[in-house]
Subunit: 207 residues, 2 copies
């Protein structure tokens, strides 16, 4: 996925310069990737590009955006409007990257109906209806760990296809949805490991 993101960035740069075709060799130059690797990566997603002619840049950009899910705005439901949920709501880059927090839910009666960051907190029992009506595809779980699994079930029942899970617990979803977890402890353990080994430098833990 990291390489595909790199390819898209390079393809968009070339597109903005008015180029119309690019070979895998040209694409690889400057990215530090061999043309063989590029052809292999792209062939995973079907046939595009022709030997000797290269890729039509505009088609390639469109296809890469589709593959990476960057061809749309992803409507997202946030469940759990406590401190972490509020921090997530105010996280700037989401909107820029094509994500919209379309609804926010919480179980705490004292929060329901209040506005946080311009968003009204809704009752959990409205979740199903709102997720369906607004065609929300993704869920973000920032509830206490005891409530995480039942929240996941609820989101999946309502039609959500993917869950970003901040609760420190492994969600069991079988093949009903896709889950990515953000585990603060695991990151801190990774850091302690690196410091123990004397490793230096900026390592993107999330790559």
């Amino acid at each position: 996925m990291k390489r595909l993101t790199l390819y898209l960035r390079e393809v968009e740069r070339r597109l903005s310069q008015g180029e119309s075709r690019v070979s895998s060799r040209q694409l690889g130059q400057g990215l530090g990737v061999t043309d063989t690797q590029i052809r292999k990566d792209l062939s995973w997603f079907g046939q595009f590009g022709q030997a000797g002619v290269g890729y039509a840049i505009e088609d390639l950009a469109t296809r890469l955006r589709q593959i990476l899910g960057k061809d749309r705005t992803w409507k997202t439901a946030l469940v759990g409007a406590g401190r972490l949920g509020q921090a997530i709501m105010s996280y700037g880059p989401f909107a820029r990257e094509g994500f919209e927090i379309a609804a926010v839910f919480d179980a705490d009666p004292s929060l329901i109906g209040t506005e946080v960051g311009g968003r009204r907190i809704r009752r959990l029992d409205e979740l199903d209806q709102i997720v369906r009506e607004r065609e929300i595809m993704l869920g973000i779980i920032s509830v206490p760990k005891e409530a995480a699994q039942s929240t996941a079930e609820r989101l999946i029942e309502a039609g959500v296809l993917g869950i970003l899970n901040f609760a420190p617990v492994r969600l069991e979803v079988a093949d009903r949805a896709s889950v990515v977890s953000v585990d603060f402890s695991a990151r801190l353990e990774q850091l302690a490991f690196q410091v123990s080994l004397g490793l230096k430098g900026s390592i993107d833990g999330d790559d």
Copy 2:
């Protein structure tokens, strides 16, 4: 690192059952790892274990805990006591995993001197002294992205060896410290990618 964590868990299980020696073959059984892989992984960290005799379990456990940084409590300074910082402070698993938030700092005068989760919020200009006095080794950055780089500089100057960075910006630390970033956007992009491809199941984005 993931495999080393698995090895440690298995070694500790055997230790608790009173076992004193284990071969790489025995260790690999049930973990789904070949004995060759285990010997290779462990050889990275120097010579331990003898061909035909296996590993002394207690030594192996001690060594794995050292390598993984699990042989001590890591004192940590948290900088940025806003919503995200408060969520991090109240994140349960840190203490269990050997991390102690030993001091909390913020630049906001209205927060300084107040207590959040039983911890007093301190002025940024106390950071240097407190990090040195308490021998704090790690920093957690949960400040706005504009302040992240200067916060990192300050922590490193004070003697911190590793930084867990929650700000959506890449820190430039060269070889002065180890940095692990928690990038919420990158996780959400990963999720969108998986959903676009129709991938299902729980994938630990952080592994």
